[in-house]
């Protein structure tokens, strides 16, 4: 079974503007796909289209040779999406938020795996504080802790390093490296250079408008 993400002839529009058209590429297991492009070139829209939230105006996204849409549950269970927004409830604490995500991912509620995810990201000591009282970077790390809940094949990350300090960036990059080693794939946008990941597994897509 090839866990391959295929994008074919994709066209997306925002408002009345064509962001990109006839875009085709594939992301293989063990590969990191880095979307590059200026502000407004449609990186976020592309990620949302891949995750199935936005419908393309033309073309298809497929996973494992089946349409990658929200109604394809074997696809939605295979990826983890961390978007611009963290998706955290401000009045709940980190643990409560992550336990809710466990339910959403269809996992058995287990506080052990929540603890280990928080520990890996070195933020377990803040798990009882409500999100409101955490810094932007800490909130980002809790959002990224979702990636470690259960197992997943594809990570879709929109600017994962926003507001993270150098140490945390390295930590996340290491986690990505591990994910790639386990035949997982990643598609992301970022303005930070990826320093710890071997360039052989990075595949860059330029999204600049012609």
């Amino acid at each position: 079974m090839s866990k391959q993400l295929t994008i074919q002839g994709l066209q997306c529009e925002r408002g009345e503007r064509v962001l990109f058209s006839d875009l085709s590429f594939t992301v293989e297991p063990g590969q990191l796909c880095h979307l590059n492009g200026a502000n407004g070139s449609g990186k976020t829209t592309l990620l949302r289209t891949i995750a199935g939230y936005t419908l393309p105006y033309a073309g298809t996204v497929s996973w494992n040779e089946k349409p990658a849409t929200l109604s394809n549950s074997s696809y939605t269970q295979a990826y983890r999406y961390v978007g611009h927004q963290n998706g955290l409830k401000k009045s709940l604490n980190a643990r409560e938020n992550l336990e809710f995500f466990q339910q959403l991912y269809g996992l058995n509620a287990s506080s052990d795996s929540v603890t280990s995810a928080l520990e890996t990201l070195k933020i377990n000591d803040k798990s009882q504080l409500s999100i409101r009282d955490l810094s932007q970077g800490q909130q980002r790390k809790i959002a990224l802790a979702r990636l470690l809940l259960g197992s997943s094949d594809l990570w879709i990350l929109d600017e994962p390093f926003t507001s993270l300090d150098l140490a945390s960036r390295n930590l996340i990059e290491n986690l990505m490296q591990q994910h790639l080693h386990q035949e997982g794939s990643i598609i992301l946008t970022t303005h930070h250079p990826l320093v710890n990941i071997p360039s052989g597994s990075i595949h860059v897509i330029e999204l600049d408008r012609e």
Binding site: R48, A51, G52, Y53, T54, L55, L70, S73, T76, Q77, Y79, Y81, G83, H84, Q85, N86, G87, L88, K89, K90, S91, L92, E96, F100, F101, Q103, L104, Y105, G106
Partner: protein
Amino acid sequence: MLKRDLLLAVRNYNDVLIGLFFFIVVVALIPISLNESTQILPRLAPGLVWIAALLSSILSLARLFEEDHADGSLDLILSSGSVYQCVLAKVAAHWLVTGLPLTLISPLIGLAYNLHGEQLSTLFMSLLVGTPVLSCIGAIGAALTTGLRSGSSIIALIVLPLNIPVMVYGAAAVRSSINSPDNVMTYLLLLTAMLIIAVVFAPIATAAALKISND
């Protein structure tokens, strides 16, 4: 999932109280503004209480999915396999914090409107069965308008006509408890039928609407 929404609601208990007091103020304003004798109030009660319930349900609907949309958790809900359950949980939470308190307080309102005995219990029962339907149908409107600037005003425009049957039967149940007690059961049964259909089918439309709104 229900637990999460309730927890959120409880931590923002202010919203619950606002909806409830809105209802109380509206039903209190009417006798004051009419300045009528207590004779006419029982005849007005069924319609007015139901209209106030409808309005207070809509008041809080506008924010039903708004926060989830703004903080990005709507994305995660939509790509989980359990959109239907999440919608149902949100609707249930909405009812528990708006419909239920309003239902619980309705016998007091009924007393103020000079209703008694059977009439009070009918008012209570009709709201108990009817207000969840308002939440279910209202959620469709809330989902369609999520993320719109003019969301809260347009939601009333699209939800109110769809809620007419609930209001008609709810008010009719209370009215017949005054005029013709034999028919109370008829209207309560019809409301129950609507409740069952709404609980099972409205979340499908709501989930579809959320997917459209989150595009």
